[in-house]
């Protein structure tokens, strides 16, 4: 399912709004601008994705919105409350779950740890326990409820973390790379629970950061692509993919050989190119202006002495949109 959990999501009543949001980290040695003049408006009821490579500024954005960091300049409002001035009131309305989270105390059992966190929000103990049990059941963790946290697998642990995020019923839930390093099954369970939780109440809003394009495509109503602290594109995944609709997208697999990426990028009509090495094969993704460019590409490959092991024309993905917008792949940006 691609996004659109709430066709009635209300962008005129923003759950999150930032204006010229900037965050600069200063250390003795250097100054890093993690976010620069970010303008964002997320409607109530939206599942909004913030995409970008590691180091793009996604986590900084989240940490500002959840009141962990102060912005250097600009304004950020969550559920109508200013993250700088009204942070105390805001904290009862938000929650955050991060990927690979190890928070809490290993000596506790799953149900105990969740109860402990529920008390920091003032929840009634009995109601909290009932709610925890319901969520444990839904996420398939009921049998692990009395297991000590240290004995959980990473997938089980992340499901527990997600329950912590959901149990206080936040108005805005922040998910920071929630499926990072999870196996396929656990990641799927986390994604489906987020979708189900969103469907249950049209006022719920989720801000999800991820560098998994497919995850964003599957979950999000709208996404913003962040690169080097700036938003380079914003819109529904479908709309972003449409931006590369007129391009011909080709996946080209080559046996190892001389470097070719910059050569391919230099060919007139090649809009963007990226490469990743997988199973000893170089997998190029090329955005071509039209079909007529392909023969030129193949000639260049042959003259470089590279052997073609596969060639596929395929539908555009969000990754292609990213490559077209930024000029490089996420992996290259991270490197």
């Amino acid at each position: 399912m691609a996004g659109a959990h709430h066709p009635s999501s209300d962008t005129s009543r923003p759950a999150v709004e930032t204006r010229q949001l900037t965050r600069v980290y200063k250390t003795r040695r250097d100054v890093t601008t993690a976010l620069e003049n970010v303008d964002l408006k997320v409607g109530q009821g939206e599942l909004f994705g913030v995409l970008g490579p590691n180091g793009a500024g996604k986590t900084t954005l989240i940490k500002i919105l959840v009141t962990l960091l102060l912005p250097t300049s600009g304004v950020a409002l969550v559920d109508g409350l200013d993250v700088v001035r009204d942070f105390k009131r805001l904290r009862s309305r938000i929650s955050m779950v991060s990927g690979g989270e190890q928070a809490g105390y290993g000596i506790l059992k799953v149900r105990e740890q969740l109860w402990m966190f529920s008390q920091f929000y003032g929840m009634d103990s009995k109601a909290a326990r009932r709610r925890i049990d319901e969520l444990l059941e839904r996420l398939g963790l009921a049998e692990a409820a009395n297991k000590q946290i240290t004995s959980l697998s990473s997938g089980m642990r992340q499901k527990m973390n997600l329950i912590r995020g959901l149990m206080t019923d936040p108005r805005v839930l922040f998910l920071d790379e929630p499926t990072v390093a999870l196996d396929v099954g656990a990641a799927r369970d986390v994604r489906s629970e987020v979708q189900r939780w969103m469907r249950e109440d049209p006022t719920r809003t989720v801000i999800l950061t991820t560098h998994y394009m497919q995850e964003a495509d599957e979950l999000c109503d709208r996404v913003a692509i962040v690169n080097r602290g700036r938003i380079v594109a914003e819109g529904a995944p479908r709309a972003l993919k449409e931006s590369v609709d007129e391009d011909v997208i080709v996946d080209l697999q080559l046996e190892p050989g001389t470097p070719l990426l910059e050569v391919l990028r230099a060919i007139e009509g090649v809009g963007a190119a990226s490469v990743r090495e997988e199973d000893g094969v170089d997998r190029f993704s090329l955005l071509l202006a039209d079909d007529a460019i392909l023969p030129r590409v193949m000639t260049t490959v042959e003259s470089a002495g590279r052997r073609v092991s596969g060639l596929v024309r395929r539908q555009p993905t969000l990754e292609d949109a990213f490559v077209k917008l930024v000029g490089r792949s996420m992996t290259e940006e991270e490197a």
Binding site: Y25, A34, N54, G55, A56, G57, K58, T59, T60, K63, V66, T67, L68, L69, L70, K88, R89, R91, S92, R93, I94, S95, M96, S98, E101, Q102, A103, G104, Y105, I107, L108, E112, W115, M116, F117, S118, Q119, F120, Y121, G122, M123, S125, A127, R131, E134, L135, R138, R164, L166, D169, R171, W197, E200, D201, T203, R204
Partner: protein, 278 residues
């Protein structure tokens, strides 16, 4: 459906008390599930106090010094608890991301810290009682029965002041993280010495003793010794010491509150609360 109707914002006072109980819980469970503390938290401190007693015996010190050591050993348990299980805990909590979750919840640091203190109270008190009872029986120390009630009062005041000081120290850990470990390390032995854990603070003289009185344990312990051990050299009369400790309670409480707010704000500004940057 789970949720929407249950969405509530609770009063701060309710959250505060619930936080104390909830944060005490892991400590109580740890004491229950990891019995090794019975050995490490009991045997080692008893041996430490015993060693000091043997030194005094070797020096043919007056008999009452054995009582000073036993009482100091008992109070040391509380001071170490303040330094390592309360103030320094924020450093651990930052490392695994728990601090972030405290910050973004509507609870307060005071609630969390008092929960830590309360959760450790059982084990620490037991450790103090074991040193006191074991030491007193072993070395035949006698206490003045008449002074026991006032001494309990002074003890409770001292404990309150000590834990408020612990909250103040915790605020440093909020901002400085691991650097604050060095501070705790650096404070441990000098404070043990200056607060007269193993000898009457009178021996330090007015200036050094006066300066050491900033740590509530100095005056509190001295007052308790005066009340329970006849012949304790008087640094300041016990009543005055108790009054000074009582004054320290609100001072440290207010300072801790101000410092926690200030350090949180600085930590948010400088990115010290987050476990990783991106």
């Amino acid at each position: 459906m789970i949720g929407a109707a249950q969405r509530t914002e609770y009063p701060a006072l309710r959250i505060f008390f619930k936080t104390i109980v909830a944060r005490a819980y892991p400590r109580v469970m740890a004491a229950n599930r990891q019995k090794t503390w019975l050995f490490f938290d009991m045997a080692f401190p008893v041996v430490g106090a015993l060693a000091m007693v043997l030194v005094y015996e070797g020096l043919h010190a007056p008999r009452q010094y054995l009582g000073f050591v036993v009482m100091g050993g008992a109070m040391l348990a509380f001071w170490q608890n303040v330094l390592w299980s309360m103030a320094a805990q924020f450093s651990w909590d930052r490392g695994n991301g728990t601090l972030e979750l405290y910050v973004i919840s509507p609870t307060t640091f005071e609630g969390v810290l008092l929960g830590m203190a309360l959760g450790s109270m059982f084990t620490v008190t037991l450790r103090a009682v074991v040193i006191l009872v074991f030491g007193s029986l072993l070395f035949g120390i006698t206490y003045t029965a008449a002074g026991s009630l006032p001494a309990i009062g002074v003890f409770l005041l001292t404990l309150s002041a000590l834990y408020c000081l612990g909250m103040l120290l915790a605020s440093l850990f909020l901002f400085y993280g691991r650097e604050a470990w060095h501070l705790s390390n650096a404070m441990q032995e000098p404070v043990n010495f200056l607060s007269g854990l193993y000898f009457p603070v009178h021996a330090l003289g007015a200036y050094v003793g006066g300066a050491a009185s900033i740590v509530p344990m100095t005056l509190g312990l001295d007052a308790m010794r005066q009340l329970l051990l006849p012949g304790t050299p008087v640094f300041i009369p016990a009543g005055t010491e108790a009054l000074l400790v009582a004054i320290q309670v609100p001072i440290f409480a207010v300072l801790a509150g101000v410092s926690l707010r200030f350090m949180e704000s600085r930590a948010r500004r400088d990115g010290k609360l987050v476990t990783r940057w991106e």
